[in-house]
Structure formats: C-alpha cells, structure tokens
Subunit: 428 residues, 4 copies
C-alpha cells in the first residue's frame, strides 16, 4: 500500500463517501444538457461517446471495488464487462475501441440506472469499515473518473464540432472577450544542480508520478506564462506552417497530411480567425493561451521563437520551487481560458496549473525504479509508456482537486483535441 | 409528362392525399419501438441512420414539391438541405455520406417535428387543385419513401447486429420455424423469341423501367422457386467457399478479404448454423429462401449447381408470362420469409415477388433509348448505371404496393446487407 | 475442339512453326532497347514488369503445351510456376500480383535463357505431328502472347512515366505533329432489326467472342471516326471535369479522388497541353484520337456532346456491315496515332481497328450460351466477367494479326493506362 | 568548428585522401556480386534500393563539399538533386521516398560513372590545401557513407528475402553453426552517482552525441552479454507472443497486426526454427545473439525475464567504465554473429560493440544543450528526435572504424529489419 493510501485510510475515510458522491455527481452534471443522441457521438477512434464514459467509470468501481470485495457477487449485467472495459487485458475480452459509437443499447437511461445501482452498492460498502486497499482503489477510481470528466469535455467538444452544424455543447459558455493583448512574457531563471522530482509523501498520486528520484538539471529559463494566441498568430503569419526547417520530420509529415494551417478549431474569417469553443463560435482572443495545438506545433513554434519546450523536470522544478514564493510573477499572470467550459467546472485558475496543458519536450517513460502495480490495475499507466509526450499543468477542464505539480499527462505528439498549449524555455 | 402521370391526375387525385398519409405513417410505424440512440446507428458507410431516412424522405417533398411549387418559400431550416440531400448535385452541396452518423442535432424529436410541418404543408397543397406534374412528383416521392422504408429495415438490422450485444430490432418477430425441407425445385420451360420488356401503360414506374422495348431471348428454363437455405448449406458443406474455380475473380477476392464462410448474419453453432434476424437469433430453417448473399455468392452457387442466374429479361418474361396462368407452379411455392419483419409490413407473399430479392446476371445499364429526366430528379437512377447488378422481385421488407414485375433494383455485386437471394436458370 | 481449331489443324500446321517464331521474336524486339533495371518496373499493381511478361508468356507454353503433352516432363525450374502463373488457380499457388516488381532473380538474362530453352523444346514439338488440341492451344498461346505484347507497351510506358525523370521508352518514336484539326465527324446511319454478332467460322477467336448469336438492335447512328484531342480539349475548357451532372456517380468519385483534370499523360504547359508518349514529351495534336481516357471520362464526354457510347453490338455491326462496302467513309478517316509506338509495331492502320481502343457502353458479360473451356484454360476469360467494360477495335500497339471485329477487350471503368479512346453514337 | 574537426585538420589531412578512397571502395565492394535488377529492390518504403544508396552518398559529397566549395560549379546532372536528396529540405525538392524503387534510369552503370566523376573531383580537391570546415564536412560525408553501408546490408537482405525465391545475398556467408548453448549471462554491478556521458575531445562524432553532459544514475546491473536465440526461444515457447501483459500497448497492437510470432526472418520448420541470413537459410543457433527484433519485442522479452532494458546512459557508462579493465568479463563473451555478413566487413568483434545493435529504453531526444548545425547539414540528426528509440553498440554489419561507445543509433520501436537485439539490465 503506497503512503498516500495509508493516509487516505487514516484521515479521510470519513470524507470518502462524501467525495465519492461529489465526483460522481459532477460527471453527470457535465451531461445535464445533452440529448440522448449526443451521447452516441464518436467522431474519431481516439474519442469515446459520452455514454461510454458514464458507463466505463462505473464499471471501474463495479469490478475493482465491488466484485473485488465479494468475488461471488453476480455482475450487474454480464455484457457490461465486454462493452465497458477500456483496455484491461487481465479482466477479459473487450469491445474494439472503434466500435464504441455503435452501442445504442444499453440506452442512456439504462446506463444512468446502472450508475444508480452501483452508487447504491458503493454507499453500502462505504457505510461499513473498509480496509486500506479498498480505500486506495476507491480513491484511484475517483481520480480515474476525474480524468474521464476532462475527456468527456474534450470528446464532446470534438463530437459537436464534427456535427455538421457545429452546435454549441454549452450555449452559455462563450464568454465575452477582452482582446487586449497579453503583456510580453518574462523569463524566470532557475539555477541548475541536483534536484528531486516526482510525487512524495501525502495525498493521492498515480503510480507514474513516482518514485520520487534525483535528477540533474542544468540552469535554464522558463517563461512566466503560456504562449498566447496573438503570439501564435505571428507564427502563422510568418509562414510557420510552410517552413519545414522549423518542424520535426514526423511533425512536418503530420501537418502536411492533416492539412494543418492553424490550431484545431480555428477557421479563417476574412482577415481574422474564428474559433469553435464549447460555447459556440467566436473570434480568437489574442491574449488567451493558445490551445489545441499538437506537440509538433508546439515544438515548431518554440524553434521559431528561438526557444525550446521545457523538459518535464524543468517544468516540475519551476512549478514547485517558484510556487514557494507565492508572489512569483508567473503565478499572477493567470487568465481565464474561456475556450471550453464554464466556471462551475473550475472556479479559479492559475496560469501554470489550470489554463491549458503544456507540452514538454519529454517522451513519456517510467521514472527510474518505476514498477506498475500487480494485477489488472497495473495496466493503468505503464503500458502506454511509448510514443507519447508528457504534458504538465492542467486545463480549465481539469477538476481543480485533480491538479498537482507532479501530475504527468501524456498524449501522442499529433494529438490536438486535448486542451494543449505550451510554455517556452531556454538554456541559461 | 409520362403516361402514368396523366393517369395519376385523372383518376387518382382524390386518393393521393390518402395514400400520402398512409405511406408517411408506415415509415414512422417502422420506428415505433426505437430508442433515440438507435436512430444514430451507421455501422458502414453504405447504410444510413434511421433519423437520416426520416428526414431525407421529408426533405424530398419539401424541395421537389413544396419549394418547386413556390420558389419564394423559405426553407424549413436552412441547414437541412446540406444535411439531408442524398446525392442530388443539382440541388447543392451535401454532407459526405460517411458522416451521417454524426448528426446528433437535429434530434429525433426535431426531425419528427419537421415531418409534421412538411406533412401539414403537403396537406394544404393536396387540398387544392394540383397540376399533373406536381401529382407525378408526389407519386415519385411516395415511391421514393417506400424504397427508404425497405432500406430502413435493412439498415436497422445491420446497425443492431453491429451493436455488440446484437439486440433484436423487433423482438416479437422471430417466428417459430418449421424445418421441413422444401420440395425440390422444378424447372419451368420458357421458349425463345422476340419479346417486349419494360414498363408500359398505366401505373407508376421509375424512369429506369422504360422505355418498353424489344429484346431477343433464347429458350431457357427457370426454377419455380428461389434457392433455399438447405441447398445453400450443401454448397457450404461441399467446400463452396474454398473452391476458386466456382467464383468470379473479383468475387473470390471479396470472399477472401471479407472472410466469408456463409451468408451475412449466419454464425456457426456447434454442428449447426444460427441466423441473426430482426427478431433475434434463431436456427437456420433449411426450407426458407437463402438471403443476404452477395451477387458473387449467388453466382458461385449457381455454377456449383450446374446452372446460372437468369438475365433480367428472362426473369421479367417468366414473371409476366407465367403469372398469366394464375396456377403456374412457381406462384404457389411462396413461403413466408421470417428473417426480417412481421406481417404488418407485408401480409401476403409470393415466392417470385416478395420473398427475397433475386440477383440476376445483368449489369445495371439503361434500356435502349433510356434518357433521364431533366433537372435534379434526373439524378434519381441514371447516374448509378455502372458497377451494379440488377435484382428483381421484391422482399418481405418491400411494401406490397411497391412490387411489380418490371421493377429494377440494383446493388454492387459485393452487397450483402439487402434481402438478396437467388433463383436458378439454365439454357434450354 | 472449336471450329477455328479444326481449321488450324487442316490448313495452318505448316505455318504454325513459322508463326510461333515470329510472335516470340516480336515480344523480344519490343524490349530491345531496355536496360536490365527497366525490366523491374511495376509502378502500380495492375501493371507488370517487362521481365514478368517475358517469363509468363513462356510459362504458358511450358505448362499448357509441353507439360500437357508429356506430364512426366520435369519443369524447367520448379519455382517458375509460382513466380510466373498469372491467375490460373487450377495450376497451383502463385505470387501475389503486387509483388511482381520484387523478382530481381531470375535475372533478365536467366529469363531470356528460359525463353530459348522453351522455344527449343517447342521447335522439337512442332517438327513432329501434333494433334488438333495441341495446335489449338499453341494458337491460343500465341494470341495470349500478342495480348501481352500490347500490355508490355502500355506497362512500359506507365513505368517510364513514373520514373521521376520521365525518359522516353523509344526515343525515336515521337513523330512530328501535323496539328491541322481533324475534319468534323460524320454520322453513319445503321438501321435496326435482328442481327447476328459474335465470332463464327474460320480463324482463331477467344472463347468470349462466341457463341455467335441473335440480338435485336434499334436503329442508331455512329460517328465515322473516334473523338479527337481537339474535341476533348473543348470538353475540358467547357468545365467538363467540374460538372457532376455529366458524370456517372462512381466516375465523379474516381475523378475527384484521382485529381483528374485531363487524360492520363497530359500536362499543362502555360496555355497549352503537353503529352507524354513512349517517344518522349511533345505537344498535344488536336487532330489525333484522344487516348488514355477511362470509361468514366468517355461516358462523360459523350453526355456533354449530346451523344452516347455505342453498345458493343452496335459497334460490331457497324464494323462488319460498313466494312463490306470498302468505301464506307469511316474506314478512310484513319490517321496514325503517334502517341505510343513506331511503325514496326503496326504498319497500317484503320481508324476503327488500330488507332485506339474504343470504350463501349456494354458491361463485360458472357454471350448467351457462353461456357468456359474445361480445366485451367477455362479461367482465361470467364472469371473476369464482372465490373469491367468492353472495348472494341484495337490500338496502334495491338499486333495487326490480332485485330478483328469480334474481339472483346475489357478493362475496369477507371482504367486509363491502356490506349483507350471513344467513338460517339446516337439513337436514330 | 567542433573539436574533432580541428583535430581532423591538424593530424589527419594527410590521411583523409586515403580514408576517402577506402570508404568509397568498401561501399562498392558490398555490391560486387549484385545483378543490375538487384539494385532496384525497394520492398518497403523504409528501405532504399542499392542504386539509390550508391548515388545518394555521392550526391552528399557533390553538394556539401564540391558545390559548397565552388558555388558556380554546374551540377553533374541537374536531375540528381531531385532524385538523390534524402531529406534535406534546405537543398530543394526531392523524390518521395516510396518511389525510389522506380528509378530505372539512371542505370547502375550511369550511377557508377557518377561515382567515378565525383571521386575524381574529390581527389583534385583533396590534393589541394583544404580548410578546416571542408575537412570536417568530408569526414562527416565518410561517416554518412559508412552509415549507408550498414543500411545497404540490411536493405539488400530485406529485398532479397522479399524476392519470392529468397536467394542469398552473399551465398558463401552462412557459416557453419556450433549450436552449443551459450553460457548463462552474468550480471555486472554498476554503482550509481553523477556521471558524464556524450562525446568529448578527439575524433569524429555526430552532433547528436554531444554535448557531453552530467547525468545522475542510480545503481544498476547490466548483463555481460546480449540475449541469445536460445533464451528468446524460451520466451516464444512460454507464450511470449500471446500474453498482452508482457507488452506495451502499442507493441501488442503492432505484434497483432503484423502477425509476429518470432523475430523477423525466422520461420518454423517442423519442431525447429530456420533463419534467413544474407548467406541463405539455415537453422537457428541457440547460442548466437538474437537479432531482428523490434523494440517492442525486446521490451516484452525483458519484462518476461524479470528485467528491463538499460537506459542509454546506463549502457554508455557500462561500455566506457568496464572497458577500462580490459579483462571485464562481458568483453570476452563476444561471439561472431554469422547472420549477415562475412569477415571482410568486420574482422573482429566485441559483444558490446559489433555483434548486434542493442535497444535501450531511451527515446531519442537531444542531449541538454543540443543544437543542430546551421544550414542543410543541421537536418542531419535533429529533426528525427521524436518517435524513435536509441540503440547502442553496433552490429557485425557496422564498419569497425565507425563504432564507438557514444554512438547513438535510432529507429522507430516497430523496426525489425535492422540488426537489432538487446541486453538486459536491472535496478541494483
């Protein structure tokens, strides 16, 4: 049992029941305005229908908590294991991902009933004494569901955008825009030396955030805020998408074959640019952080800007050390990113953690000494440690309680449908 | 104005309003038990979601009748032309077929409201005097909608089958099965000579059914009933799917790449075979007509059986001439094909017209002197006259009023999701 | 034994040996100027490397003549059956077509040695008495090799054109061009009625040219010469490639996905058009027959011109009947098509047979009563009778002795690398 | 100018001419037994034809040395820039990689004449005083050509294997096999701490081998020899290719879609396994290092063995530190890997550098402070720093003078046609 689990048991058991209810409600709140057909949208294989997210997060508690606690327990529905397992090979066969959009039955109503039933069973369980391991798995399940809350936002946004008429997901969200340009970014110097990174001590963390370990970094500079749309527009206008010398070879190929001329969701409108947001289409705000760029675009932009992306160690060190001084300049430059969701998802924001996810230059691999858990839960993170890049921070769609400096998000370098932006760094 | 249109005006105007209401109701009746999510299913590009069928057939009346009658009329919804145009280039841009499954908005409820509104407008129009041309286009629209009723059945069946749990479309339909084997087929001799085929005279027909014209046929024999499942099983058991000499070259390639080992919807069950029907999964009935085979399979079966498929001229001549004597043997061998739908779709059946569609050996081309109509409606049939094979007859999912001996159905030779079987022929 | 085979035995046996030598030499003469690397080119799956053509035509004689005559005979090389079988399933496994370009061994020299060895064995066989059947198969083999001579020309042309520097296949061939525009075409009237088409009586023919049979045609008009480049340019300039109403649905899709803006091998040069020929690149000659168009382009052109393509019956009837009067106008409008090869391939030409192959509106199916031969040779024609369109006539790359009015060439409707043009027809 | 370049000028200018001649000769020696057609083989897009390797390495000297020295110099052939540029965007347009197999012209003879002509120009240049920068670029060109020598070996092997009859590339090479099983591997302990890795000081190195920099490693163990075929067989027999829990997610998908059941070039032979080598097909030797495995297979094997792959830092530290003691056990376990080439390619071997390339667990990224060169040569390494994994060591096909402990080879994780094996590591 990891440290955070022990702590969970000692101090938080009383709160677990409350937290369970809150997280589960939040997932459904995100879907409050959807029509049944909206729950079916799967515009690309990588995105999942909303219905699937609702059911899969529930299946997680059913299998890893309820059935684990009572192996003789009959499954709620024998077909759900096949339908709603995402990738846990150790738990059995599963539906190919590309066919999640064909699950018209069970209906949304049936899936919501499934949620009710599992929630009731969980409430019973939580009313009893639960052991450390069970508490730890429940905590994992809640963090897992919070990850799916963010995916629910990004997948719905993509699905609605593919809808030929591009309706808004949440019509009220598209905030009025103050297109004052952002103040120029400032460089923060960080001295080199031996440091510790990775999760330690108290609180929940995913297995890939540890072990905490020593690393050696050289001195570097890091920008006090993410790159803004106005800056990215300058890259576009300077021919950034037409200059192969700025791009990684694979990135150039991806940009060509995908016909990329701007971030995802941008479209030309005469001389200007419009952007599709979850609240509908509006003008690009030059002062907001650029978002929905791939790693390749982030990397090309950085090269064009005479800088580079930070490594994940550099990012984490800056996030941790500079936060100590709560007046650090980059902590105050935060600005609400209105592209996606409303205040009820995330009321307060900081530029470094909560505006946009920030691509780093680090491929996603295990930390020294990393070892996945035994059993099916060991498939959670480890088996994806190839062909993906680490993002750090968190976006305005990330649940606030879910954000922490050691969090390692990861996506393939060509992914654009996440709320991904960038922050610049330089050698000292 | 074609002859049938003149007649339509003279004798049927009074009935047109009644017929309009009945056809439109029947379309919705087919969807009575669907959940909103079921309306979204598009398992392959060739199939369309039920929602799309409901809206597209309505759009047809809106554009070709209502707006044609009053060009200044505002469209019901400006986006519907883009969303629900199937292939009429002359009417404007349209959604790529492959993305019909992404139309979560308008919702089913909105599409049903659209149907109501257009039906109301149509009722007003039908209450007035309408000219010949308008009556003809309404008649075309109703026949068009009846075609989509059959597609609705076959597309829903395919969609539900792709649903990972394979639910029944209409749970009550799967009739009890009498697995007495069918009586051996008998050959009917038809003498050769000059004949007339194609539509003539009274009643509605599509443009591709004419002009009626002279053709020369040699004497031939035609079976008095379609090929049955028991016979097709013998083909399978004789290695039919493993013997390239029985297959057309393209057919062999399609069978290999598609992994075909039996008709679509069949699956092995120990020593026997089960079949997925719109009513659920049940055992194959050796006496029922084989169905859901491609042209390639039909052609290979015929070769294996020492016979061939009839040409469409041979089929039509047999259907017309032999029906004259109402006691012709092949008219009495009819047998309900329970694979798809219930009695309310089609109460009575004849083997030649109403059991299964029958592949012919004729590629789909225009008859001598064929000329498509002017304008957008000219796109109805003519532009598909390549790479397709003609099917004749009609299936148990074909509306009865829609079946006639000159009807030319057509699908690509690899298509299997239609209710397609075959009947054998031989040179005399 | 078919009629032509009997005749072959009676009158031609003496000549067979001579004819064998001539045909075999002609194949190699076509390759006289190639470099060893040129023999490897396979730019698309449908085209075969020259080396493969040389070996495959030889393998045909080895298997169907030599080994058929002496079954105990050891094969020349046991691997050649696998390498050089084109599609005869009855003769055993074979190399996938797409990999013919990877046969670096045997080398060209080894393949030429193979030809020598089989030719020697054939010479011995031909010196003896041979039976009717053997003579018939040899005649088939020679006609088969002549077909491959034409493919050798079209495949080499395509291969050299894909070569990034587009070298000429035969540098001397590109004739000086007389760009006087062709005289306007004239319509020839052909009365309707019952006719006979298909091969009969004397001389070799492929099985698909028979049985000779009765067919009924309506009166029609046919143009006295093929469509010329100047006329096709008018189609291009009138937006022919941008007007979907002119195209079959599948044709429109093929033109879009292939980016077609002109026939294959044409390229813009300022205001004019250049054309790649086997002799190199030169200006388009407005008076020469248009060539390297697909069926889809031919069909769209005909629609644009207010005409249609002839059926194959119409084409054959015109070719036979109008040739009777040797002064028929369309027989004299012949003009050398310099696009491909030099005079030694085909010294004299007629417009209808020998300029360009002419697409007809007829899908390729068997004639009434058609039955393939028994055994492997039965795979020669019959199994391709689907998804292809008939072309009639012959091109300047077709060996003269190979051209006859009943000859049925066939290719998929999207094929453009053959020497395919068109001639217009109209209803009377 | 980097350090190694300065040294090159000071001490090696006299030798550069000699070295140039030797490297260029060695490239052609590898092709001595090829037939012209063999030079055309391009079985997959990633591999290049031998002819292309011969020309491209020559083009490198022409453009980056000769034309750089005299910008007014006319190119040897204006089309060669287009044909033989591999990926230098800054130098102009280039042929798509997938079409390199269609360059039948220039012929092999013409390419060899090109080599002669450039070699003559280079000899003239080398006879004069050359400046530091020119000497550095020549040294880079020679190392570049040595890289292509190894690719020539692996690409020819793949091309000959795709040749349907699988001829040997070098028939004499397949050494007799001593199938005594290798002695069990031993673990070498390496203490943790701060270390320096990367190239420093004297001698040529690619830009990606620097800057030399500090890194922190934890204590670890590394095996004294690479994994052998016998050990890999045990993995296969233990169901290694059927157990998803052993594989990375992308690796499992690659293994499934590629149908992997063993390393590339292995094939079942009854109960045993045969292996295709450049010398032909022979039995697998249980004692030789396993080769032609992807990163995914290497990673899965390591997990199965209860170990892991070393990082590239761990590998380099072991290679450098343990070589100090020349009696270190893992330096003596070297064994000739007869899978590919004969002694004349590489006469002596060490297990760690020269048997097989060894996959590491490190994604290929730039070292801290890495900055590509200015201009076209800056495209040499930097732009590939994504989606690839680092391999260390060198293979029996790697020129001996080319092997050094800091050398960073890199390939995508699914690549199998390189001489890639693995060595195990563990946490201390």
């Amino acid at each position: 049992m990891p440290d955070w689990a022990a702590e969970a048991v000692a101090s938080q058991r009383a709160e677990l029941s409350h937290r369970y209810a809150r997280v589960r409600e939040q997932t459904e709140a995100l879907c409050a305005e959807l029509e049944p057909e909206d729950y079916m949208l799967q515009p690309v294989e990588e995105a999942s229908p909303a219905k699937w997210h609702l059911a899969h997060t529930t299946w997680f508690f059913e299998v890893f908590v309820l059935t684990a606690a009572r192996p003789e327990r009959a499954p709620y529905d024998p077909s759900y294991g096949y339908l709603f397992n995402s990738y846990y090979n150790a738990v059995g066969e599963r539906l190919p991902r590309s066919r999640r959009g064909l699950i018209s039955r069970p209906t949304v109503a049936a899936v919501l009933a499934y949620r009710r039933a599992i929630d009731d069973e969980m409430a019973e369980l939580l009313a009893d004494r639960i052991d450390h391991r069970t508490a730890a798995v429940i905590e994992l399940g809640l963090n897992h569901e919070q990850q799916h809350q963010e995916l629910l936002v990004t997948d719905l946004k993509l699905g609605f955008w593919h809808n030929p008429t591009k309706p808004a997901v949440w019509p009220g969200v598209a905030a009025a825009v103050d297109d004052g340009s952002a103040a120029p970014p400032r460089w923060i110097e960080v001295p080199g030396g031996l440091r510790q990174i990775g999760h330690a001590g108290s609180g929940f963390a995913f297995d890939n955030e540890g072990p905490r370990h020593t690393t050696y970094v050289r001195g570097y500079r890091i920008a006090d805020r993410p790159v803004c749309c106005g800056e990215f527009l300058a890259f576009i206008e300077d021919g950034g998408y037409d200059r192969p010398e700025l791009w990684l070879s694979d990135g150039w190929a991806a940009a060509r074959s995908g016909g990329w001329r701007a971030p995802l969701y941008w479209e030309r409108d005469g001389d200007g640019w419009m952007i599709y947001t979850a609240g509908g289409i509006r003008a690009v705000d030059r002062g907001e952080p650029v978002c929905h760029v791939s790693f390749y675009e982030a990397d090309a932009f950085a090269r064009w800007a005479g800088a580079r992306l930070p490594t994940e160690a550099e990012w984490e060190i800056a996030a941790v050390e500079l936060r100590q001084g709560t007046t650090g300049p980059f902590l105050e430059s935060g600005r609400m990113h209105p592209a996606v969701v409303a205040d009820d998802v995330q009321p307060t924001l900081k530029a470094m953690m909560g505006g946009v996810w920030e691509w780093t230059s680090s491929p996603y691999v295990g930390y020294p000494g990393y070892r996945p858990a035994e059993g099916a839960l060991g498939e959670y993170n480890g088996k994806f440690m190839c062909n993906q890049m680490v993002l750090r921070g968190g976006s305005c769609a990330t649940p606030v309680s879910h954000i922490r400096p050691t969090y390692r998000n990861f996506f393939p370098p060509e992914a654009r449908w996440q709320l991904s932006g960038l922050r610049l760094a330089q050698d000292a």
